[in-house]
Assembly symmetry: C2
């Protein structure tokens, strides 16, 4: 059974890791959000791709979910001491990734080529694909500051500004990265990982061709919202600010035209009867690697049962 | 007494540090070679400026003389693991310097402005000046590979190719950096630090205006060659390959039109009588910080005595 997972950062990466534990490597492809990609200190940074890769490679910081394990921050300390911008936390090992990615991309290599090579170097056997090789930028429209690039909103402003909407600049002219439509074409089902719908999954769906390609397939979403709050990140806050009650149901309604199933947490099982699409409850919180595998198997079980 | 020291990397930085111990900060300016500056991994790197600054700030690696003390190399290890270029050793703390310098310069700040700000952040009270804000590149003409940019010759090829000559591209249109001619104008004497004459001091002298400005002043050179060998680096090898017997005397002849005095090592004291300019022997090897101060005071004593 071939599975394509759409993923953002930490939460998405954890389920991708669970799927990697449950499936043969050749049966799993992850299409990863690059709408958060940005240039900082002259470096081309792809936060979600790195989080997915570090997680699959066993290199991720288990406490934060992003960045490298056993990381040091000596370059950043020096930058701070020199009065430079220190609002985006980059560790020393992580810097190596950004420097080498930037070097390769500036020499003409595509993001998907670089990602493929990095996966090989890190021993990742699954297919990890950026959603597009072209620049698509998630822009958060805020009440206080107007439009902000995602990292400005997310890291610099700590998700504090009140959200009015989103757009994905460049998406209209972007193309799915090599391998994306092929992976979808041979997929038996699509999984929306428990990632932020507004700024992790929607940017992927905004790349022309991807929405259309997945629309004919079974699509299961795992709710990133448990008991009305987001496990990580601003998803629940965003729903609220847009006038939508944050809950697993708001995920179901957000994707109602695409989903064939929704997986929500046991604490939200009473919502199942109100769901516009078939919903199933399980334990969706992934604290351990074993949790990731168990949730992945629950999702795969649902796909097989349909 | 105002002193201007012309310096390259490690040996030069050590004498500058000795002079900094012996003089009030306002009496010392170092004009530093930038002919070795290069771009690597997208970073604008100024090796000699960094060595002089790290040394003055007490941040330099005491074993190598270059790079930072108690340094780690985790970014570089990751770059190596990803198949990237690892021939130029950059430590993690050092990376912060290069990233922030690059960010500032790409935003339009001059190298001298950046250097001034970095010196302030590092608590350096002496004036450390790049020779020029414009790009001057030391090119080493070699028998095996033709012309090589300096770092290619120095680090990548480990100084192995046989040298035929040197040129300093861009020097004809370069200007002394702000403060350089002012420092020389108020100097009582010039010191050529024990740096490589071919690739550390000559590039500084190749910047139009500097040679002319110093020519009227007392100029004392400290020989980087002791007993026919260079304390560090390829100076002796370069003299040999150019058909010149490497010795403290070859330094005297190299600069004979400029120098008013040469300081050579006690082991070379028998060369004094053959020197084309007045020469003086002392212990010129700088193993400790105290050695640096003692040599600086010997040089200053000679200047005062003249």
């Amino acid at each position: 059974m071939n599975i394509v997972a759409l993923a953002g950062g930490v939460g998405g990466a954890k389920l991708v890791d669970g799927l990697a534990q449950a499936l043969s490597p050749e049966n799993l492809a992850a299409i990863v959000n690059t709408g958060d990609d940005f240039e900082h200190l002259g470096l081309l940074i792809s936060p979600d791709l790195d989080t997915v890769c570090y997680t699959l490679a066993g290199l991720a910081n288990p406490d934060t979910g992003w960045g490298r394990d056993a990381e040091t921050f000596r370059a950043l300390e020096n930058i701070r001491n020199l009065g430079g911008p220190d609002w985006f936390t980059i560790g020393d090992q992580d810097l190596g990734t950004h420097l080498e990615r930037t070097r390769r991309r500036r020499s003409g290599q595509s993001l998907s080529r670089v990602t493929k090579d990095f996966c090989q170097a890190w021993g990742i056997k699954q297919s990890v694909l950026p959603m597009s090789n072209e620049l698509v930028q998630t822009i958060v429209d805020t009440e206080e500051f107007g439009e902000l690039a995602f990292q400005e909103y997310f890291v610099h402003h700590k998700c504090e500004p009140k959200v009015k909407g989103f757009r994905f600049t460049g998406s209209e002219n972007a193309h799915p990265a090599p391998g994306v439509l092929e992976a979808i074409g041979s997929a038996d089902a699509i999984i929306f990982c428990p990632s932020n719908p507004w700024v992790s999954i929607d940017p992927i769906l905004a790349v022309p061709g991807i929405h259309q390609a997945i629309a004919q397939l079974p699509i299961i979403a795992v709710s990133p919202i448990i008991g009305g709050i987001a496990v990580k990140g601003p998803a629940a806050k965003m729903f609220k600010e847009l006038g939508i009650e944050p809950s697993a149901l708001s995920i179901a309604f957000h994707y109602r035209d695409l989903l064939t199933g929704l997986i929500l947490d046991n604490v939200d099982s009473e919502l199942i009867k109100e769901s516009p699409i078939p919903a199933y409850a399980t334990n969706t919180l992934m604290r351990t690697r074993e949790d990731r595998r168990r949730l992945a198997e629950d999702v795969l079980h649902l796909i097989r049962a349909k």
